[in-house]
Amino acid sequence: MTSNKAQVIKVPNLLRAKVGNKPGPDLNQIVRQAEAALGSMQDQYETWIRDYVTKINEALATARRSVPPDPETIALIRKTSHDIKGQGETFGYPLLTQVGHMLFHFIERDQGQAARSIELIAAHIEFMNLVLQDKIHDQGGAKEQQILAGLEAASRKLLKT
């Protein structure tokens, strides 16, 4: 009979020995250097993010050409929204992270429902286009917050959450 008892294994802490006792840069210095390094990538990022947004617009156009949309196309929209979410805020586009997060979760919670709700997906992507076009590097104004709230409410209604 297999025992249900847990075996606890103490693993030698080789990393503590490896890093030694020499102090490293303090956290504020690390943050300043990292922010400077990421800031120097801003121009590259503008190209990347435009590529992602182009890719998600193209996937939307493909999704609209067939009823119901191909599940692989919906999965591509979900994956691209995840990529946009993962990097937007790092490069000063917090609204892209927020809308990417919302679209990703909407599709992930119910891909079938998402496939039947192409216009709601399109509304998320339109908002991404707006943020990029207007280069909104903060939380936006009342209009942007209203759009986000509307997208959230529509998603909740369709997902019945």
Binding site: T2, S3, N4, K5, A6, Q7, V8, I9, K10, V11, N13, L15, R16, K18, V19, G20, K22, P23, G24, P25, D26, L27, I30, V31, Q33, A34, E35, A37, L38, M41, Q44, Y45, W48, K79, H82, D83, K85, G86, Q87, G88, E89, T90, T97, H101, F104
Partner: protein, 172 residues
């Protein structure tokens, strides 16, 4: 939080998004960590683990065909795993509690939400070095102890052999 010189560390970053490689590299470089390898999928990462022996692995969750949790399970439980004990930090856009528990139960050491916070990544690395948890092996689990703290006054039944022993994961 302790202040360690992290420059001796070697780190494997597993993410299918090349742009994320650049972001993580920039952040790790600011911590003076230069010994970094990158893999775009779990199979390549497994090969790296075998050939290069990194100190720590940072892996994304959302990858295909094997996702980050599949990779973690391969590392922890695979018969041919080169290092079942390697510390693993999971990067994820999933922050709902059931997802966090799923990740924890796969055997990750730490979870880090996207977009990556510089401070949060640093604190995860320090936590792995400063307060490593013992590994626990049960019929259903192999990985770092899922308890974050011991309650010296706890007098209840042994919980380790139940699947839901404790939470305490910080995802920020």
């Amino acid at each position: 939080m302790a202040n360690f010189s992290l420059e001796a560390l070697s780190i494997l970053v597993v993410d299918d998004n090349k742009h994320m490689h650049m972001v993580v590299k920039a952040i790790l470089n600011s911590m003076r960590i230069k010994n970094i390898h990158f893999s775009e999928n779990a199979a390549d990462a497994f090969m790296e683990l075998r050939q290069w022996h990194p100190d720590i692995v940072i892996t994304d969750w959302a990858m295909e065909p094997l996702d980050g949790l599949d990779f973690v399970r391969l590392v922890r439980k695979g018969a041919d795993s080169p290092n079942p004990y390697v510390p693993i930090i999971l990067l994820t856009g999933h922050t709902e509690m059931h997802r966090v528990l799923e990740a924890r139960d796969s055997g990750v050491n730490e979870i880090l939400a996207k977009p990556i916070s510089i401070k949060a990544l640093y604190s995860r690395l320090v936590s792995i070095i400063e307060t490593p948890r013992p590994f626990v092996k049960t019929k259903n689990y192999f990985g770092p102890c899922r308890r974050r703290w011991d309650d010296p006054n706890y007098k209840g039944p042994e919980r380790r052999h139940t699947p839901d022993a404790d939470a305490g994961f910080n995802v920020a």
